[in-house]
């Protein structure tokens, strides 16, 4: 397989592992509004495009895709404050877990980042972002959001 392989991704199951995240969502954390998020499948389903608008005013975009050459999912995130994440991973059961390394803004220590998206039986999705110092045991929660489908928009289908 080469980077120029033009086989469609539409029917490849590996590309569909994150489909549960597609849609228009309102997001809360501990019951309080955290923002809205829109996840759209583009390029014949080869990539998921995220558009985040946080209640705090921070806006963010990400691209998530299955890299068939590495057989891993990848996400690159950038926000309006200059925050960047490069995450790799894949399905864990029904959930999607992506991990990477970064810098903690308070201490500037290098940290491991881990975000797990879990589809719930009621149609909601939990997005749990955790962080820990390199070499440490305990993860601390950075963000624990609950996604509910927005009532005012139908969920966008894959193109």
């Amino acid at each position: 397989m080469t980077p120029h392989d033009t086989r469609t991704s539409r029917d490849d199951e590996a590309y569909r592992a994150f489909d549960f995240w597609i849609g228009d969502w309102t997001v809360t954390e501990n019951g309080a509004s955290a923002g809205t998020n829109r996840i759209v499948a583009e390029l014949d389903g080869a990539v998921l495009s995220e558009t985040w608008s946080g209640t705090s005013g921070v806006r963010g975009r990400s691209l998530s895709f299955y890299d068939r050459h590495r057989r891993r999912w990848h996400q690159t995130w950038i926000d309006s404050d200059g925050g960047v994440l490069h995450l790799d991973g894949g399905p864990v059961g029904r959930a999607m877990r992506l991990e990477g390394e970064g810098t903690e803004p308070g201490t500037l220590l290098p940290v491991e980042e881990r975000i797990t998206w879990t589809p719930n039986a009621d149609g909601t999705v939990r997005q749990h972002w955790e962080r820990k110092a390199l070499g440490m045991q305990d993860w601390t929660t950075v963000f624990d959001g609950l996604y509910r489908r927005s009532a005012d928009r139908a969920a966008p289908a894959r193109d």
């Binding site: 309080a32 404050d81 903690e104 803004p105 308070g106 201490t107 220590l109 962080r131 601390t140």
Partner: protein, 166 residues
């Protein structure tokens, strides 16, 4: 600053919302912060100001999560308990805020102290910050999960009512 955290007792750390087991070693912390001190202002990730009174270092304030020209989160620490409730913290913090706003060209300054610690919450109100909301979070690597109060200041507004300092 690092010595202050490492020298503080468990009770003092608890009032700051800090878990002593999560403090990084002095060496590891210093290794990360020292290079940032040399960075030019627009590239700084953190900005530390020491507070001196009568020739003694009595506290510090720092900014992080800096978006130059836009926003930063700030923190304040008066190291000597006997100097609290004297107006010194408000005076030092007000001057720190003025410096942060000018040097980092901030349009918004955010401070999110531990909600259970009345000292900084009271000081922020006196410094002209506006209370936004209370929520539960783990503020950083060195903290335990806690309720914090979010306070915001738009620096174009007056930054202090210094005459009301206690």
């Amino acid at each position: 600053m690092i010595g202050y955290f490492h020298g503080a007792g468990e009770e003092a750390l608890a009032m700051m919302g800090v878990d002593p087991a999560r403090l990084p070693s002095r060496e590891a912390w210093l290794d990360r912060l020292l290079p940032d001190l040399a960075r030019p202002l627009p590239q700084k990730l953190t900005y530390y100001l020491a507070w001196r009174s009568d020739g003694l270092e009595v506290g510090h304030s720092n900014a992080n999560q800096i978006v130059f020209g836009v926003r930063a989160h700030v923190h304040l620490h008066l190291w000597i308990p006997e100097r609290r409730r004297s107006g010194l913290g408000l005076a030092c913090f007000t001057e720190s805020i003025r410096r942060f706003a000018a040097d980092l060209e901030l349009k918004q300054i955010v401070c999110e102290p531990y909600a259970a610690n009345p000292g900084p919450n009271r000081l922020l109100e006196r410094a002209g910050f506006t209370f936004v909301r209370r929520y539960r979070t783990t503020p950083g690597l060195i903290n335990f999960e806690q309720e914090v109060n979010r306070w915001e200041l738009l620096p174009a507004r007056p930054t202090a009512r210094a005459s009301s300092a206690d």
